[in-house]
Symmetry: C2
Subunit: 418 residues, 2 copies
């Protein structure tokens, strides 16, 4: 491929990313595109037009996932599905989700331009929701395709302004009366590309991450109830100091996690103390624990240890313990049958690669429970995501598209035109 | 003393406590009497009337401290000053400060009724402010008597509603133009009685606490600045987790304090994390440390250790450390020359007693830096204070008055009528 061609293609994916980011641009140069909002509707409609122009047959499903379909020439009944999510967090960036849709779209458009129709049907999907930024519900798009949601899943769910999920969906043009989710049984493989949202690729100077697992996640809120008391008049041995108890717990649980398994990640990101006054012993402290690992056995065994340590520390200080688990997602093993082939193709292009675990959740983890699924990462500058500062250089954007072309070619064309 | 007399006297101090609490009673059965507020003005005027009725000469000084004076028959120039503070915290109780004024008042009234005028002049004082609940400034009353404040001390100080200190003072009837603070040099001894605000007397089943020291206090705000990062994608060894750093510090500093000296009290009462979100590594955590002890050397040496530990922990985690010291009050040793005498008198009445250290601040600590000062405690039910739930039983209220009578008798009458 000549220098000039590379430049033209680089501009193509960059232009698409900038174009899509105009739907929901905020004053602070971020992007806010919440499920069923005006910006979201406009972005889906604009993408539909782009797909149409690229010769794809377009349609929406009952919840607003948008598809651009290229019919397979031989095995048309099974579908190679590829894409990512169109929604963003509030004040997010231009890449998270959006890049994945555009890279899939561009890869398919180029393949069709170069090789004509595939053997197997390809659908590019713009998934309606992954983040859960408007409503307290994640993976609305992918979990409807896999049949994991039903009408009761959105009963009594409203956004921060009190708008019910069902009303927002109805108003966006997806009639709630017609909602009848059903698992799609025609999907042979799901392929997603995403920015890493971390800095492992950047630090290892790699172009492409081949994701082997998506971590399981457990999230807890731990509430320690002691006794509020005067900081000056309460002897140390008569205190029921919830802050000291929380501090011991966070400190010990972190040390245990580090020594238990490399890659096990735990985060106490939120802590709320009451009354939270300098000269009063804290009577109550609540903190969260976010725990992630790709091996269910290790994850479960660490979580058992968490309860053990919390019970021990709270008993010592005569403090009441309450543990609420509000997230419990098992790790997902992705399809690695293509990795050896992909590595060779990637190397033949002069790109570098590494296998890695995804610490963040992705639509691929939902699909991965139902269909063979491939997930590919490109680097994120400084590992930043969910921020207007999200950035990936043109070079990597284009390398990602090329690897997507190879992957989709293998899945949908192989044995055909190759 | 007959049973019936005891009952009458018991009712007297209880009635006074209930009466004074009507100035500033809140809906929640608490008392809010902030410096220079309408409730505060009414309470001082009502107390003035009570003093007048008891035969005292009354006057206010330039900042609103109220005095009831009984002229000494022989050594009239020096003054035995006794009292406490009239202001409360927001939604405080009936006893903190108020009981001290009323016990001093009642003790002096009874002494005069029984023995006539003292040899030395006695003044009962209702100090205008101790808590610092309206303006960010404590001990306004006592520090004006001891000459520690000047007009510049209240420059640019306003309450939460933006009312300047000087305006509030002026409007309450204490003209700012006439303000000319000067240390009183006629005070021979200051005597204060106060509720304990802790539960040491209650737990030790003692009626009276003879306070030997008031602790020194140092307060710090410690800010740890790390890096906000994704909880899933940031490896543990690449984190700059301000929460874990704070947890280690609070945990270690508490252990060190406990092992360094019995009675050393440290409290991390307030903690604020940013962004304080479950799935984001905390980029910044600020927490306060309140440190109290009665021995300056030990207090200072612990504070040096605090800095050492904080530097060590923050360096280990590559986290930026900022330490702001915003309170630095030396411990005060009170006059103990009366204690042996008082113990005998207390025992002869069948009351129990113990020497103790005050972990809370009191006006006595301001006076104690300038004049011989005596501070006496009575029990607080469950150690509760700064709350509508503040309570002390009639029995102890009355015992306190009796011990005040003995103490003031010794200081102002001894060698006279005895």
């Amino acid at each position: 491929m000549s220098e000039s061609t590379t430049n033209v293609q680089t501009i193509e994916i960059r232009e698409l990313v900038e174009w899509l980011s105009t739907f929901g641009t905020t004053n602070e140069r971020g992007v806010t595109r919440l499920l069923y909002s005006t910006e979201w509707i406009k972005a889906q409609q604009a993408l539909k037009q782009k797909m149409h122009e690229a010769g794809m047959a377009t349609y929406f499903d009952g919840v607003g996932n948008l598809y651009g379909r290229i019919e397979g020439s031989i095995q048309g009944d099974t579908v190679i599905l590829t894409g990512s999510h169109i929604d963003t967090v509030k004040q997010g960036g231009k890449y998270d989700g959006a890049y994945g849709i555009l890279a899939s779209f561009l890869a398919v458009r180029r393949l069709v331009e170069k090789y004509g129709p595939p053997i197997k049907t390809i659908e590019v999907v713009s998934l309606c929701e992954e983040e859960g930024s408007r409503f307290p519900l994640t993976f609305w798009g992918s979990k409807n395709i896999t049949g994991e949601f039903s009408i009761t899943s959105i009963d009594n769910i409203s956004d921060n302004e009190g708008i019910p999920f069902k009303k927002a969906m109805n108003d966006a043009g997806y009639p709630i009366d017609a909602y009848s989710p059903k698992k799609r049984n025609d999907i042979e493989h799901f392929v997603e590309i995403h920015i890493e949202q971390g800095s492992i690729l950047e630090k290892n100077l790699k172009d492409i991450g081949l994701v082997t697992h998506i971590v399981g996640q457990k999230r807890y809120t731990i509430t320690l109830t002691g006794e509020s008391n005067h900081a000056g008049t309460t002897p140390m041995d008569e205190r029921k100091d919830a802050m000291v108890c929380a501090a011991k717990a966070i400190s010990q649980l972190t040390s245990i996690a580090i020594s238990l398994a490399p890659g096990l990640r735990i985060t106490a990101g939120q802590l709320i103390a009451k009354p939270n006054v300098p000269n009063v012993v804290a009577g109550e402290v609540s903190f969260t624990l976010d725990i992630r690992y790709h091996d269910k056995k290790v994850l479960d065994s660490y979580c058992e240890k968490v309860i053990e340590v919390l019970e021990c520390i709270s008993n010592e200080s005569d403090i009441q313990l309450s543990v609420e688990k509000w997230t419990d997602i098992d790790p997902v093993t992705l399809d690695q049958s293509l990795h050896e082939l992909m590595k060779k193709k990637i190397e033949s292009k002069g790109f570098s690669h590494m296998q890695m675990v995804s610490g963040a959740g992705h639509d691929a983890q939902v699909f991965g429970r139902h269909y063979p699924t491939t997930l590919i990462f490109i680097p994120s500058c400084n590992g930043i995501s969910h921020s207007p500062l999200e950035f990936t250089e043109d070079e990597y954007l284009e390398k990602g598209v090329k690897v997507m072309m190879d992957t989709l070619y293998h899945l949908a064309y192989k044995g055909g035109i190759a």
